[in-house]
């Protein structure tokens, strides 16, 4: 198990991969972003995106899935984040694209709100199968503290 104290600045996590199918894109869009270029591949060809692409919020959600799976894989006691300082959408994610992410730890600080947790600053980049950057963001992630957890 890795607690907040164990996560060094400069550490880089390489996530696994997720492939996004046309059905995944349509399912998410039907619930949350029902615009034609997400719902209908034929219409999407003529849209500003030039193809059937995922909602930008689905890309964020997929980034989260990659992150959570990676923290679980590596035994990091993370519980997510309460803030995103900034995020950019660089290019669309099209049906059948495969995404992966790189998470770089850039800082380490106490959390004012939670005594059991500390914060790590992260720079995250999500790229597609060609290595092209899809989104990038900076966020801080809450990670359980070892010494507090041990006292309980």
């Amino acid at each position: 198990m890795s607690y907040w104290e164990d996560i060094d600045i400069g550490r880089v996590f390489q996530t696994g991969e997720i492939t996004v199918s046309a059905d995944d894109i349509i399912d998410f869009a039907s619930n949350f972003d029902p615009q034609p270029y997400h719902l209908d591949p034929a219409i999407a060809e003529q849209s500003i995106f030039g193809g059937h692409c995922a909602s930008g919020w689905q890309i964020c959600a997929l980034m989260m899935r990659l992150l959570v799976d990676t923290m679980n894989r590596d035994g990091v006691r993370s519980v997510g984040s309460a803030a995103v300082e900034s995020l950019r959408w660089h290019r669309p994610v099209f049906a059948d694209d495969t995404l992966h992410a790189q998470i770089t730890v850039t800082g380490h600080k106490a959390s004012s709100g939670y005594s059991r947790y500390g914060l790590i600053d992260c720079a995250i980049e999500v790229a597609n199968q060609s290595g092209d950057k899809v989104i990038s963001l900076t966020t801080d992630m809450l990670v359980e503290r070892g010494e507090v957890a041990a006292d309980e």
Partner: protein, 164 residues
């Protein structure tokens, strides 16, 4: 093919005034949808399991922050379709290009009702790829007790009037 009138519709960049404020929708978060979203995208116990969530950060089941974002999008799309006036070619709104200062300030639990608002706060003086302007808005969501639970600022492209 019925594509033109299905496109999302909006106004020219020049016609969107700074200071414009909208209460654009509200949503009650159900337990099942919180768990469905959590299982798919943020599989922490606090988002996926009513009982296990009691021992987690917020002492109970809460919606993923990205779920709160996704509902923002859903309400925004619905609102914009209603608000649009007669634009048929779908070329006046573009993609979101990014956001900043996103904060999830309070937990969103099953049964909570969030009211979403946005205010146009800035139109940066930039032309993107010859035809797009940037509309910056501050977006907020308040719960049923009037508490601010979610806030961020997003940049979205809007097409500039061709003769401007």
């Amino acid at each position: 093919m019925s594509e033109p009138e299905q496109f999302f519709r909006s106004r020219w960049f020049e016609d969107i005034p700074v200071g414009e404020f909208h209460v654009f929708g509200n949503h009650t978060f159900g337990e099942k949808e919180i768990i469905d979203f959590g299982r798919a995208y943020a599989p922490y116990p606090m988002h996926t399991d009513f009982d296990a969530a009691r021992d987690s950060l917020h002492q109970g089941l809460v919606a993923s922050g990205w779920h709160v974002c996704a509902v923002w999008m859903r309400l925004m799309v619905t609102y914009m379709e209603r608000y649009a006036t007669g634009v048929r070619d779908g070329r006046r709104n573009g993609a979101g290009i990014g956001f900043r200062n996103m904060k999830w300030l309070k937990p969103v639990r099953p049964g909570h009702n969030l009211t979403y608002t946005y205010e146009i706060i800035e139109k940066p003086d930039k032309v993107i790829r010859g035809k797009w302007g940037i509309i910056r808005s501050r977006n907020e969501a308040y719960n049923q007790n009037g508490e601010l639970v979610f806030t961020f600022e997003i940049d979205i492209l809007a097409e500039r009037r061709p003769d401007s």
